[in-house]
Protein backbone atom coordinates (compact mmCIF):
# COMPACT_ATOMS: atom_id res chain seq x y z
CA UNK A 1 0.00 0.00 0.00
CA UNK A 2 2.74 2.41 0.86
CA UNK A 3 4.46 1.65 -2.41
CA UNK A 4 1.51 2.67 -4.54
CA UNK A 5 1.19 5.79 -2.41
CA UNK A 6 4.76 6.85 -2.86
CA UNK A 7 4.35 6.92 -6.60
CA UNK A 8 1.57 9.49 -6.45
CA UNK A 9 3.66 12.03 -4.64
CA UNK A 10 3.49 15.36 -6.26
CA UNK A 11 4.64 18.80 -6.78
CA UNK A 12 2.74 20.85 -9.29
CA UNK A 13 4.73 24.01 -8.79
CA UNK A 14 8.21 23.08 -9.88
CA UNK A 15 9.77 26.30 -8.68
CA UNK A 16 8.60 25.72 -5.13
CA UNK A 17 8.80 22.01 -4.73
CA UNK A 18 11.65 20.65 -2.75
CA UNK A 19 12.27 18.01 -5.39
CA UNK A 20 11.21 19.50 -8.75
CA UNK A 21 11.06 16.31 -10.76
CA UNK A 22 8.55 14.65 -8.44
CA UNK A 23 5.30 13.23 -9.66
CA UNK A 24 2.74 16.02 -10.09
CA UNK A 25 -0.36 13.87 -10.21
CA UNK A 26 -1.83 15.10 -6.98
CA UNK A 27 -2.36 18.50 -5.39
CA UNK A 28 0.24 19.16 -2.68
CA UNK A 29 -0.92 19.21 0.92
CA UNK A 30 1.02 22.38 1.65
CA UNK A 31 2.02 25.23 -0.61
CA UNK A 32 3.84 28.23 0.76
CA UNK A 33 4.38 31.32 -1.36
CA UNK A 34 6.87 34.05 -0.53
CA UNK A 35 6.37 33.67 3.21
CA UNK A 36 8.13 36.24 5.37
CA UNK A 37 8.16 37.80 8.82
CA UNK A 38 10.14 40.52 10.48
CA UNK A 39 10.30 41.33 14.16
CA UNK A 40 10.46 45.09 14.46
CA UNK A 41 12.61 45.47 11.36
CA UNK A 42 14.68 42.34 11.90
CA UNK A 43 13.95 40.01 8.99
CA UNK A 44 13.68 36.51 10.45
CA UNK A 45 12.32 34.73 7.38
CA UNK A 46 11.94 36.02 3.87
CA UNK A 47 10.79 34.75 0.51
CA UNK A 48 10.21 31.24 1.80
CA UNK A 49 8.63 29.01 -0.88
CA UNK A 50 7.89 25.34 -0.52
CA UNK A 51 5.44 22.67 -1.60
CA UNK A 52 4.97 19.38 0.23
CA UNK A 53 3.39 16.23 -1.17
CA UNK A 54 0.56 14.35 0.49
CA UNK A 55 2.66 11.63 2.04
CA UNK A 56 6.08 13.14 1.77
CA UNK A 57 8.63 13.25 4.56
CA UNK A 58 10.75 16.30 4.19
CA UNK A 59 13.47 17.85 6.25
CA UNK A 60 14.11 21.45 7.12
CA UNK A 61 17.73 21.90 8.10
CA UNK A 62 20.11 24.74 8.65
CA UNK A 63 22.45 26.23 11.24
CA UNK A 64 21.16 27.45 14.61
CA UNK A 65 19.19 30.67 14.28
CA UNK A 66 18.49 30.11 10.59
CA UNK A 67 14.74 30.50 11.18
CA UNK A 68 13.58 26.88 11.08
CA UNK A 69 11.37 26.99 14.15
CA UNK A 70 10.10 30.39 13.04
CA UNK A 71 8.82 28.67 9.87
CA UNK A 72 6.86 26.21 12.03
CA UNK A 73 5.52 29.09 14.10
CA UNK A 74 4.39 30.83 10.93
CA UNK A 75 2.78 27.71 9.49
CA UNK A 76 0.82 27.21 12.73
CA UNK A 77 0.09 30.95 13.17
CA UNK A 78 1.83 31.22 16.50
CA UNK A 79 3.39 34.19 14.70
CA UNK A 80 1.45 36.14 12.09
CA UNK A 81 3.35 36.29 8.81
CA UNK A 82 4.12 39.79 7.55
CA UNK A 83 3.99 38.64 3.95
CA UNK A 84 3.19 35.64 1.79
CA UNK A 85 0.51 32.98 1.61
CA UNK A 86 0.11 29.52 3.10
CA UNK A 87 -2.23 27.12 1.32
CA UNK A 88 -3.22 24.00 3.20
CA UNK A 89 -4.79 21.43 0.91
CA UNK A 90 -5.44 24.26 -1.54
CA UNK A 91 -7.19 26.50 1.02
CA UNK A 92 -5.88 29.84 2.13
CA UNK A 93 -5.07 29.89 5.85
CA UNK A 94 -4.55 33.63 6.26
CA UNK A 95 -7.66 34.15 8.41
CA UNK A 96 -7.07 31.19 10.67
CA UNK A 97 -5.64 31.17 14.19
CA UNK A 98 -3.51 28.43 15.72
CA UNK A 99 -6.47 26.34 16.86
CA UNK A 100 -8.20 26.58 13.49
CA UNK A 101 -4.98 25.64 11.71
CA UNK A 102 -4.90 22.48 13.76
CA UNK A 103 -8.52 21.69 12.96
CA UNK A 104 -7.71 22.27 9.28
CA UNK A 105 -5.00 19.63 9.48
CA UNK A 106 -1.60 20.81 10.75
CA UNK A 107 -0.29 19.39 14.00
CA UNK A 108 3.11 20.02 15.53
CA UNK A 109 5.58 19.26 18.27
CA UNK A 110 7.81 21.82 19.97
CA UNK A 111 11.53 22.17 20.23
CA UNK A 112 11.30 22.72 24.00
CA UNK A 113 8.70 20.07 24.74
CA UNK A 114 5.33 21.57 25.61
CA UNK A 115 3.23 18.90 27.25
CA UNK A 116 0.45 19.48 29.77
CA UNK A 117 2.81 18.65 32.62
CA UNK A 118 0.35 18.29 35.51
CA UNK A 119 -1.97 15.98 33.61
CA UNK A 120 -1.62 12.25 33.04
CA UNK A 121 -0.17 10.78 29.87
CA UNK A 122 -3.60 9.49 28.94
CA UNK A 123 -5.20 12.91 29.45
CA UNK A 124 -2.51 14.51 27.30
CA UNK A 125 -3.49 12.22 24.43
CA UNK A 126 -7.21 12.71 25.13
CA UNK A 127 -6.68 16.46 24.89
CA UNK A 128 -5.16 15.80 21.48
CA UNK A 129 -8.44 14.03 20.64
CA UNK A 130 -10.38 17.15 21.62
CA UNK A 131 -11.81 17.73 18.16
CA UNK A 132 -12.02 14.03 17.27
CA UNK A 133 -14.26 12.80 20.06
CA UNK A 134 -16.75 15.54 20.83
CA UNK A 135 -19.58 16.10 23.26
CA UNK A 136 -20.91 19.25 24.88
CA UNK A 137 -20.08 20.70 28.28
CA UNK A 138 -23.65 19.96 29.45
CA UNK A 139 -23.32 16.32 28.37
CA UNK A 140 -20.20 16.11 30.49
CA UNK A 141 -21.70 17.75 33.56
CA UNK A 142 -24.98 15.83 33.41
CA UNK A 143 -23.16 12.58 32.62
CA UNK A 144 -25.54 11.77 29.77
CA UNK A 145 -25.17 8.38 28.00
CA UNK A 146 -23.19 10.07 25.24
CA UNK A 147 -20.57 11.08 27.80
CA UNK A 148 -19.83 7.47 28.67
CA UNK A 149 -19.72 6.22 25.08
CA UNK A 150 -17.51 9.13 23.98
CA UNK A 151 -15.16 8.75 26.91
CA UNK A 152 -14.81 5.06 26.18
CA UNK A 153 -14.04 5.83 22.56
CA UNK A 154 -11.50 8.49 23.55
CA UNK A 155 -9.82 6.09 25.93
CA UNK A 156 -9.62 3.30 23.37
CA UNK A 157 -8.22 5.65 20.76
CA UNK A 158 -5.71 7.09 23.23
CA UNK A 159 -4.50 3.59 24.08
CA UNK A 160 -4.17 2.67 20.41
CA UNK A 161 -2.05 5.73 19.81
CA UNK A 162 0.08 5.16 22.92
CA UNK A 163 0.62 1.63 21.73
CA UNK A 164 2.48 2.89 18.64
CA UNK A 165 5.34 3.88 20.92
CA UNK A 166 4.74 1.13 23.50
CA UNK A 167 3.63 3.64 26.09
CA UNK A 168 0.30 2.18 27.24
CA UNK A 169 1.80 1.11 30.57
CA UNK A 170 2.63 4.77 31.28
CA UNK A 171 -0.93 5.99 30.69
CA UNK A 172 -1.65 6.91 34.29
CA UNK A 173 1.68 8.63 34.91
CA UNK A 174 1.98 12.35 35.24
CA UNK A 175 3.40 13.72 31.99
CA UNK A 176 6.12 15.71 33.73
CA UNK A 177 7.41 12.58 35.46
CA UNK A 178 8.33 10.87 32.18
CA UNK A 179 11.93 10.69 31.06
CA UNK A 180 12.92 13.12 28.34
CA UNK A 181 12.67 10.71 25.41
CA UNK A 182 9.23 9.51 26.49
CA UNK A 183 8.07 13.12 26.75
CA UNK A 184 9.12 13.68 23.14
CA UNK A 185 7.25 10.57 22.06
CA UNK A 186 4.17 11.63 24.02
CA UNK A 187 4.18 15.01 22.31
CA UNK A 188 4.42 13.20 18.98
CA UNK A 189 1.43 11.01 19.91
CA UNK A 190 -0.58 14.02 21.10
CA UNK A 191 0.00 15.72 17.75
CA UNK A 192 -1.03 12.55 15.92
CA UNK A 193 -4.19 12.35 17.99
CA UNK A 194 -5.49 15.52 16.37
CA UNK A 195 -5.72 13.57 13.10
CA UNK A 196 -3.50 15.84 11.03
CA UNK A 197 -2.80 15.81 7.32
CA UNK A 198 0.54 17.43 7.91
CA UNK A 199 2.73 16.86 10.93
CA UNK A 200 5.51 19.27 11.91
CA UNK A 201 8.19 17.72 14.11
CA UNK A 202 10.64 20.14 15.73
CA UNK A 203 13.85 18.24 16.53
CA UNK A 204 12.18 14.91 17.30
CA UNK A 205 15.51 13.16 17.95
CA UNK A 206 16.96 15.79 20.28
CA UNK A 207 18.46 14.17 23.35
CA UNK A 208 18.03 10.64 22.04
CA UNK A 209 20.83 8.09 21.85
CA UNK A 210 21.65 6.39 18.51
CA UNK A 211 19.48 3.33 19.12
CA UNK A 212 16.53 5.47 20.18
CA UNK A 213 17.02 7.60 17.08
CA UNK A 214 17.08 4.45 14.96
CA UNK A 215 13.78 3.40 16.48
CA UNK A 216 12.32 6.88 15.98
CA UNK A 217 13.26 6.80 12.29
CA UNK A 218 11.39 3.59 11.67
CA UNK A 219 8.48 4.91 13.71
CA UNK A 220 8.25 8.09 11.64
CA UNK A 221 8.13 6.07 8.44
CA UNK A 222 5.67 3.64 9.97
CA UNK A 223 3.38 6.47 11.01
CA UNK A 224 3.54 8.11 7.60
CA UNK A 225 2.59 4.83 5.94
CA UNK A 226 -0.12 3.97 8.44
CA UNK A 227 -1.75 7.41 8.67
CA UNK A 228 -0.96 8.55 5.11
CA UNK A 229 0.20 11.97 6.21
CA UNK A 230 2.93 14.37 5.20
CA UNK A 231 5.70 15.16 7.69
CA UNK A 232 8.08 18.09 7.83
CA UNK A 233 10.83 17.72 10.37
CA UNK A 234 13.50 20.01 11.72
CA UNK A 235 16.51 18.02 12.82
CA UNK A 236 20.20 18.39 13.45
CA UNK A 237 20.89 14.66 13.39
CA UNK A 238 21.96 14.25 9.76
CA UNK A 239 21.74 10.48 9.88
CA UNK A 240 18.02 10.79 10.58
CA UNK A 241 17.47 13.53 8.02
CA UNK A 242 19.40 11.81 5.25
CA UNK A 243 17.94 8.46 6.24
CA UNK A 244 14.22 9.16 6.01
CA UNK A 245 13.64 12.48 4.26
CA UNK A 246 12.68 12.33 0.62
CA UNK A 247 13.16 16.04 0.14
CA UNK A 248 15.27 18.50 2.08
CA UNK A 249 15.25 22.28 2.24
CA UNK A 250 18.23 24.10 3.71
CA UNK A 251 17.68 27.38 5.46
CA UNK A 252 20.27 30.01 6.32
CA UNK A 253 19.63 33.54 7.57
CA UNK A 254 15.90 33.11 6.99
CA UNK A 255 16.23 32.12 3.35
CA UNK A 256 16.22 28.84 1.52
CA UNK A 257 19.67 28.27 0.09
CA UNK A 258 19.08 24.82 -1.34
CA UNK A 259 16.36 22.27 -2.00
CA UNK A 260 16.60 18.74 -3.23
CA UNK A 261 17.04 15.07 -2.45
CA UNK A 262 19.40 14.02 0.34
CA UNK A 263 22.09 13.20 -2.25
CA UNK A 264 21.82 16.61 -3.90
CA UNK A 265 21.93 18.42 -0.57
CA UNK A 266 25.00 16.52 0.62
CA UNK A 267 27.01 17.61 -2.36
CA UNK A 268 25.71 21.18 -2.58
CA UNK A 269 28.61 23.64 -2.05
CA UNK A 270 26.30 26.34 -0.61
CA UNK A 271 25.11 23.93 2.06
CA UNK A 272 28.61 22.89 2.96
CA UNK A 273 29.57 26.52 3.22
CA UNK A 274 26.59 27.36 5.45
CA UNK A 275 27.46 24.55 7.84
CA UNK A 276 31.22 24.68 7.84
CA UNK A 277 31.91 28.26 6.84
CA UNK A 278 34.04 29.37 3.93
CA UNK A 279 37.48 27.91 3.52
CA UNK A 280 40.21 30.34 4.40
CA UNK A 281 41.51 30.40 0.88
CA UNK A 282 38.15 31.47 -0.53
CA UNK A 283 38.00 34.75 1.32
Amino acid sequence: MSDSRKKTKMVPLPSQAIIPERDTAEKPILEVHRLGINFGGLVAVEDFNIAVGRTEICGLIGPNGAGKTTIFNLLTKVYQPTSGAILLDGHDTSNMNTAQINKAGIARTFQNIRLFPTLSVEDNVKIGLHNQVKYSMATGILRLPRFFSSERRARERAMELLDIFDMTHLASHRASSLPYGAQRRLEFIRALATNPKLLLLDEPAAGMNPSETEELMSNIEKIRDQFQIAIILIEHDMRLVMGICEGIAVLNYGKIIAKGTPEEIQSNPLVIEAYLGKKKGDQ
Binding site: F39, T69, N73, F110, Q111
Partner: protein, 293 residues
Protein backbone atom coordinates in the same frame (compact mmCIF):
# COMPACT_ATOMS: atom_id res chain seq x y z
CA UNK B 1 -10.38 78.32 38.01
CA UNK B 2 -12.20 75.47 39.69
CA UNK B 3 -10.69 73.12 37.17
CA UNK B 4 -7.18 74.32 37.91
CA UNK B 5 -7.78 73.87 41.59
CA UNK B 6 -9.09 70.35 41.08
CA UNK B 7 -6.17 69.57 38.83
CA UNK B 8 -3.69 70.66 41.48
CA UNK B 9 -5.38 68.60 44.19
CA UNK B 10 -5.37 65.73 41.73
CA UNK B 11 -1.63 66.06 41.20
CA UNK B 12 -1.13 66.27 44.94
CA UNK B 13 -3.16 63.13 45.66
CA UNK B 14 -1.47 61.53 42.69
CA UNK B 15 1.92 62.34 44.17
CA UNK B 16 1.01 60.35 47.27
CA UNK B 17 -0.18 57.45 45.12
CA UNK B 18 3.03 57.70 43.13
CA UNK B 19 5.19 57.44 46.25
CA UNK B 20 3.25 54.36 47.40
CA UNK B 21 3.25 52.90 43.88
CA UNK B 22 7.05 53.23 43.76
CA UNK B 23 7.27 50.85 46.71
CA UNK B 24 4.98 48.36 44.97
CA UNK B 25 6.73 48.59 41.66
CA UNK B 26 10.28 48.28 43.00
CA UNK B 27 9.41 45.23 45.06
CA UNK B 28 7.56 43.70 42.12
CA UNK B 29 10.39 44.44 39.73
CA UNK B 30 12.98 42.81 41.95
CA UNK B 31 11.22 40.14 44.01
CA UNK B 32 8.44 39.48 41.44
CA UNK B 33 5.86 39.58 44.21
CA UNK B 34 2.79 41.69 44.95
CA UNK B 35 3.41 42.95 48.45
CA UNK B 36 -0.15 43.43 49.63
CA UNK B 37 1.04 44.47 53.06
CA UNK B 38 2.59 47.61 51.60
CA UNK B 39 -0.58 49.65 52.18
CA UNK B 40 -0.50 48.76 55.86
CA UNK B 41 3.08 49.92 56.22
CA UNK B 42 1.71 53.33 55.20
CA UNK B 43 -0.72 53.16 58.10
CA UNK B 44 2.08 52.22 60.51
CA UNK B 45 4.06 55.21 59.21
CA UNK B 46 1.09 57.45 59.92
CA UNK B 47 0.71 56.16 63.48
CA UNK B 48 4.44 56.50 64.18
CA UNK B 49 4.46 60.12 63.14
CA UNK B 50 1.27 60.68 65.14
CA UNK B 51 2.81 59.11 68.24
CA UNK B 52 6.00 61.09 67.90
CA UNK B 53 4.24 64.43 67.66
CA UNK B 54 1.37 63.98 70.12
CA UNK B 55 2.86 61.65 72.73
CA UNK B 56 6.55 62.50 72.66
CA UNK B 57 6.05 66.07 71.53
CA UNK B 58 8.71 65.81 68.86
CA UNK B 59 8.98 68.34 66.05
CA UNK B 60 7.25 67.34 62.79
CA UNK B 61 10.39 66.72 60.76
CA UNK B 62 11.84 64.46 63.44
CA UNK B 63 8.54 62.57 63.59
CA UNK B 64 8.80 61.90 59.86
CA UNK B 65 12.34 60.57 60.25
CA UNK B 66 11.17 58.42 63.14
CA UNK B 67 8.33 57.01 61.05
CA UNK B 68 10.76 56.28 58.22
CA UNK B 69 13.17 54.52 60.55
CA UNK B 70 10.46 52.35 62.09
CA UNK B 71 8.92 51.47 58.72
CA UNK B 72 12.30 50.64 57.20
CA UNK B 73 12.96 48.29 60.07
CA UNK B 74 9.46 46.87 59.78
CA UNK B 75 9.91 46.31 56.05
CA UNK B 76 13.17 44.44 56.59
CA UNK B 77 11.72 42.33 59.40
CA UNK B 78 8.65 41.41 57.33
CA UNK B 79 10.85 40.48 54.41
CA UNK B 80 13.17 38.34 56.52
CA UNK B 81 10.48 36.55 58.49
CA UNK B 82 7.66 36.11 56.00
CA UNK B 83 8.91 36.47 52.44
CA UNK B 84 12.51 35.28 52.43
CA UNK B 85 11.63 31.69 53.43
CA UNK B 86 9.31 31.61 50.39
CA UNK B 87 11.83 32.72 47.79
CA UNK B 88 11.32 29.60 45.68
CA UNK B 89 7.62 29.08 46.49
CA UNK B 90 4.80 29.63 43.98
CA UNK B 91 3.80 33.29 43.50
CA UNK B 92 0.35 32.70 44.93
CA UNK B 93 1.77 31.34 48.20
CA UNK B 94 3.77 34.54 48.62
CA UNK B 95 0.69 36.60 47.81
CA UNK B 96 -1.37 34.87 50.50
CA UNK B 97 1.47 35.32 52.98
CA UNK B 98 1.51 39.03 52.14
CA UNK B 99 -2.22 39.12 52.80
CA UNK B 100 -1.56 37.42 56.14
CA UNK B 101 1.01 40.10 56.98
CA UNK B 102 -1.53 42.74 56.01
CA UNK B 103 -4.14 41.24 58.35
CA UNK B 104 -1.51 41.06 61.04
CA UNK B 105 -0.51 44.71 60.77
CA UNK B 106 -4.11 45.93 60.68
CA UNK B 107 -5.13 43.89 63.69
CA UNK B 108 -2.00 44.73 65.64
CA UNK B 109 -2.78 48.40 65.01
CA UNK B 110 -6.34 47.76 66.12
CA UNK B 111 -5.09 46.33 69.41
CA UNK B 112 -2.56 49.07 70.04
CA UNK B 113 -4.44 52.15 68.88
CA UNK B 114 -8.08 50.90 68.80
CA UNK B 115 -10.54 51.43 65.97
CA UNK B 116 -11.25 55.02 66.99
CA UNK B 117 -9.99 57.39 64.32
CA UNK B 118 -7.15 59.65 65.43
CA UNK B 119 -7.16 63.14 64.07
CA UNK B 120 -3.78 63.72 62.58
CA UNK B 121 -2.35 67.20 62.61
CA UNK B 122 -0.48 68.07 59.47
CA UNK B 123 3.29 68.02 59.67
CA UNK B 124 3.42 70.85 57.16
CA UNK B 125 3.37 74.42 58.38
CA UNK B 126 3.88 76.12 55.05
CA UNK B 127 1.61 79.07 54.27
CA UNK B 128 -1.04 78.38 51.67
CA UNK B 129 -0.37 79.99 48.34
CA UNK B 130 -3.00 82.49 47.19
CA UNK B 131 -3.10 83.19 43.48
CA UNK B 132 -5.42 85.23 41.22
CA UNK B 133 -6.62 87.45 44.08
CA UNK B 134 -7.33 84.51 46.27
CA UNK B 135 -9.45 82.71 43.73
CA UNK B 136 -6.96 79.85 43.61
CA UNK B 137 -5.69 78.64 46.96
CA UNK B 138 -3.02 75.95 47.09
CA UNK B 139 -2.46 74.58 50.58
CA UNK B 140 0.99 74.16 52.01
CA UNK B 141 0.49 70.41 52.27
CA UNK B 142 -0.29 70.22 48.58
CA UNK B 143 2.86 72.10 47.64
CA UNK B 144 5.06 70.05 49.95
CA UNK B 145 3.54 66.76 48.75
CA UNK B 146 4.25 67.53 45.12
CA UNK B 147 7.79 68.72 45.84
CA UNK B 148 8.56 65.70 48.03
CA UNK B 149 7.33 63.38 45.30
CA UNK B 150 9.53 65.00 42.69
CA UNK B 151 12.56 64.90 44.98
CA UNK B 152 11.95 61.21 45.72
CA UNK B 153 11.70 60.38 42.04
CA UNK B 154 14.98 62.19 41.33
CA UNK B 155 16.76 60.46 44.20
CA UNK B 156 15.41 57.05 43.26
CA UNK B 157 16.33 57.51 39.66
CA UNK B 158 19.86 58.38 40.69
CA UNK B 159 20.09 55.40 43.04
CA UNK B 160 18.81 52.94 40.46
CA UNK B 161 20.80 54.25 37.51
CA UNK B 162 23.98 55.62 39.01
CA UNK B 163 24.93 53.59 42.08
CA UNK B 164 26.30 50.11 42.63
CA UNK B 165 23.22 49.12 44.64
CA UNK B 166 21.05 50.33 41.77
CA UNK B 167 23.01 48.27 39.30
CA UNK B 168 22.55 45.22 41.52
CA UNK B 169 18.80 45.97 41.63
CA UNK B 170 18.57 46.19 37.87
CA UNK B 171 20.53 42.98 37.50
CA UNK B 172 18.31 41.10 39.97
CA UNK B 173 15.15 42.37 38.32
CA UNK B 174 16.45 41.27 34.92
CA UNK B 175 17.53 37.77 35.95
CA UNK B 176 17.88 36.69 39.55
CA UNK B 177 19.97 33.59 38.86
CA UNK B 178 22.33 35.26 36.42
CA UNK B 179 22.81 38.13 38.88
CA UNK B 180 23.68 35.64 41.60
CA UNK B 181 26.24 33.99 39.33
CA UNK B 182 27.79 37.38 38.63
CA UNK B 183 28.39 37.86 42.35
CA UNK B 184 25.41 40.07 43.17
CA UNK B 185 24.12 39.43 46.67
CA UNK B 186 20.49 38.81 45.73
CA UNK B 187 19.13 38.53 49.26
CA UNK B 188 20.79 41.73 50.34
CA UNK B 189 19.52 43.54 47.25
CA UNK B 190 15.96 42.41 47.91
CA UNK B 191 16.24 43.51 51.55
CA UNK B 192 17.48 46.93 50.48
CA UNK B 193 14.59 47.23 48.06
CA UNK B 194 12.11 46.42 50.81
CA UNK B 195 13.82 48.93 53.08
CA UNK B 196 13.58 51.70 50.49
CA UNK B 197 9.97 50.83 49.64
CA UNK B 198 8.98 50.86 53.31
CA UNK B 199 10.72 54.17 53.97
CA UNK B 200 8.78 55.61 51.05
CA UNK B 201 5.58 54.15 52.50
CA UNK B 202 6.28 56.00 55.74
CA UNK B 203 6.65 59.30 53.88
CA UNK B 204 3.46 58.55 51.95
CA UNK B 205 1.67 57.75 55.19
CA UNK B 206 2.63 61.07 56.77
CA UNK B 207 1.69 63.03 53.64
CA UNK B 208 -1.58 61.13 53.25
CA UNK B 209 -2.58 61.82 56.84
CA UNK B 210 -1.54 65.46 56.51
CA UNK B 211 -3.89 65.85 53.55
CA UNK B 212 -6.70 63.63 54.86
CA UNK B 213 -6.26 63.84 58.62
CA UNK B 214 -8.11 60.73 59.76
CA UNK B 215 -5.94 57.89 60.98
CA UNK B 216 -7.39 54.39 61.46
CA UNK B 217 -5.99 50.85 61.29
CA UNK B 218 -7.54 50.55 57.81
CA UNK B 219 -6.24 53.91 56.58
CA UNK B 220 -3.64 52.33 54.35
CA UNK B 221 -5.80 49.67 52.72
CA UNK B 222 -7.64 51.62 50.04
CA UNK B 223 -4.74 53.94 49.10
CA UNK B 224 -2.65 50.76 48.97
CA UNK B 225 -4.99 49.12 46.46
CA UNK B 226 -5.19 52.31 44.41
CA UNK B 227 -1.45 52.78 44.39
CA UNK B 228 -1.07 49.18 43.31
CA UNK B 229 -3.50 49.99 40.51
CA UNK B 230 -1.38 53.02 39.69
CA UNK B 231 1.71 50.85 39.47
CA UNK B 232 -0.02 48.48 37.05
CA UNK B 233 -1.43 51.46 35.20
CA UNK B 234 2.05 52.77 34.48
CA UNK B 235 3.50 49.35 33.79
CA UNK B 236 4.47 47.40 36.89
CA UNK B 237 8.21 47.21 37.47
CA UNK B 238 8.84 50.59 35.88
CA UNK B 239 9.78 53.54 38.12
CA UNK B 240 8.73 56.29 35.68
CA UNK B 241 5.59 54.20 35.10
CA UNK B 242 4.72 54.25 38.80
CA UNK B 243 5.17 58.02 38.86
CA UNK B 244 3.06 58.57 35.76
CA UNK B 245 0.42 56.07 36.87
CA UNK B 246 0.17 57.61 40.33
CA UNK B 247 -0.23 61.18 39.08
CA UNK B 248 -2.80 60.19 36.43
CA UNK B 249 -4.77 58.15 38.93
CA UNK B 250 -4.89 61.07 41.37
CA UNK B 251 -6.05 63.48 38.67
CA UNK B 252 -8.71 61.09 37.38
CA UNK B 253 -10.00 60.44 40.88
CA UNK B 254 -10.32 64.13 41.83
CA UNK B 255 -11.77 65.21 38.49
CA UNK B 256 -14.18 62.25 38.53
CA UNK B 257 -15.33 63.24 42.01
CA UNK B 258 -15.75 66.87 40.99
CA UNK B 259 -17.44 66.50 37.64
CA UNK B 260 -19.10 63.08 37.47
CA UNK B 261 -20.03 61.51 40.77
CA UNK B 262 -18.54 61.37 44.23
CA UNK B 263 -19.82 57.87 44.85
CA UNK B 264 -18.55 56.58 41.55
CA UNK B 265 -15.09 58.14 41.65
CA UNK B 266 -13.40 54.85 42.51
CA UNK B 267 -15.39 53.06 39.82
CA UNK B 268 -14.19 55.66 37.30
CA UNK B 269 -10.58 55.18 38.34
CA UNK B 270 -10.84 51.43 37.91
CA UNK B 271 -12.74 51.74 34.63
CA UNK B 272 -9.95 53.91 33.20
CA UNK B 273 -7.42 51.32 34.38
CA UNK B 274 -9.31 48.59 32.54
CA UNK B 275 -9.46 50.63 29.35
CA UNK B 276 -5.74 51.42 29.51
CA UNK B 277 -4.86 47.77 30.03
CA UNK B 278 -7.00 46.76 27.08
CA UNK B 279 -5.20 49.19 24.83
CA UNK B 280 -1.77 48.58 26.34
CA UNK B 281 -1.88 45.17 28.04
CA UNK B 282 1.31 45.76 30.03
CA UNK B 283 0.55 49.29 31.20
CA UNK B 284 1.58 52.68 29.89
CA UNK B 285 5.33 52.25 30.16
CA UNK B 286 5.53 48.49 30.56
CA UNK B 287 7.65 46.37 28.28
CA UNK B 288 5.99 44.04 25.84
CA UNK B 289 7.25 40.52 26.25
CA UNK B 290 7.40 38.27 23.23
CA UNK B 291 6.69 34.68 24.13
CA UNK B 292 9.39 32.40 22.83
CA UNK B 293 8.06 29.18 21.40
Amino acid sequence: MDFLSYLISGISLGSIYAIIALGYTMVYGIAKMLNFAHGDVIMVGGYMSFMATTHFGWPPLLSVLFAMAVCTLLGIVIEQLAYKPLRSAPALAVLITAIGVSYFLQNAALLIWSANPKSFSSVVFLEALRLFDGRLIISGTTIVTIIVCLVIILILNTIVNKTKVGRAMRAVSEDKDAAQLMGVNVNKTISITFAIGSALAAIAGVLLCSAYPILMPTTGAMPGIKAFTAAVFGGIGSIPGAFLGGILLGIIEILGKAYISTQLSDAIVFAVLIIILLVKPTGLLGKKVLVKV
